[in-house]
Symmetry: C2
Subunit: 198 residues, 2 copies
DNA sequence: TCTGTCGGGGAACGGTCGTTCTCCGCGATG
DNA sequence: CATCGCGGAGAACGACCGTTCCCCGACAGA
């Protein structure tokens, strides 16, 4: 039934191969864009036979969707961790921007892959457009939850989410991370103006 | 020297042809993305022979750059008109977001072509990346000028620019125009908190 | 009317895309 | 040992990309 497995290394399982492909796809798509990376390059980078690649995923569209799904999950985990490490409701709201600051400072930061993918494929791929829309809607709802928890008005949530989006766009295009701190300062002002307790 | 010109219509001048090509390119690139639109489709939409198209522009890259340049000029004109129609320095700052609201409400709004192009080609085309960077830097400087005129602190300018970027991203992805009003409200709060006169 | 020239339409070219197929070598099985 | 079948490597396929080239018909000048 099973096969080959040379010398010491055990044959990689299907899950391992999927993992390798998705890691390579994430890296390549994020750095250079989706359309700019062909299946052959992905195959080389992942070290997985082309045939296996199609057997595992079915096609490029499925790989793209899965890459976005995983990025979304990772983003959610990161933001929640940063927020949960903070104390007061006000600090929990501001923790979002501290998380952005850390992200923007990473050496291979290239903006939000959802915004980038929407710019690239939003007009042609309803599937990608819907994934991006859902991701951003989920973030807005999460912020709305934090604001409600802090006793702030619903309008504040939309404002804070817009600041986060603007910081991502600005940092990506400018290539510098200071937009996070600027957005944080603006958020603090908005929170204070809403009358939330410090 | 000159040529053809059937019946009543005079032969279109080079400027007219350039105009037709750039209008078609703007429409197609904006709606569907740059890489998704081939030269053949552009030729058909513009009604200009392929040969002439290459004689006029040299290649696709030059057309893309010119489309972005013209979009940038148009944006600048629109924003300045909205701002100059406003009265007090505070109203002039808020006029930026009113202008965004009008734009977002257009039936064929598909986000900011600079943000979209950066997402699509920023990682692969240094030329496009630089055009986008310059466009956004110019907007930030313009806002900084308005803030200075109003007597506000420089930090406010960056915050207001981030709000504008976030509104564009949010409206494009959500497909709804309300982000403009939300950003406007946030901007008003930030302006007031900075102690500017109403 | 004949000839030279120029531009329009579209085929052709080399390259690359996503996807499929073919071959080959190996381990498993009787 | 002979046979089978699966999986790896990469060639092949059709489509489409940006770009170039060719051919033909129409006008200008003699």
């Amino acid at each position: 039934m099973s096969q080959v497995q040379e010398a010491g290394r055990p044959a990689p399982s299907a899950d391992e191969l999927r993992e390798r492909v998705l890691a390579a796809a994430d890296r390549l798509y994020y750095r250079r864009g989706i359309q700019a990376v062909g299946m052959d390059e992905l195959r080389t980078e992942a070290g997985v036979p082309l045939k296996r690649l199609y057997a595992l995923f079915g096609g490029k569209d499925a790989i793209v969707a899965e890459v976005l799904r995983r990025r979304g999950a990772l983003w959610e985990v990161g933001v929640r961790a940063a927020v949960d490490a903070a104390g007061t409701p006000r600090e929990r709201l501001l923790a979002v921007y501290d998380h952005l600051a850390g992200w923007f400072g990473e050496t291979d930061f290239h903006g939000c892959i959802f915004i980038n993918s929407f710019g690239e494929l939003g007009g042609c791929s309803p599937e990608v457009a819907e994934i991006v829309r859902a991701h951003k809607a989920a973030f807005q709802e999460y912020v709305a939850g934090l604001v409600a928890e802090a006793g702030g008005p619903p309008a504040l949530a939309a404002q804070l989410a817009i600041l986060a989006e603007g910081a991502q766009t600005t940092a990506a295009i400018a290539g510098t991370p200071e937009a996070a701190a600027q957005a944080r300062a603006a958020a603090a002002t908005l929170i204070d103006a809403a009358g939330l307790p410090g």
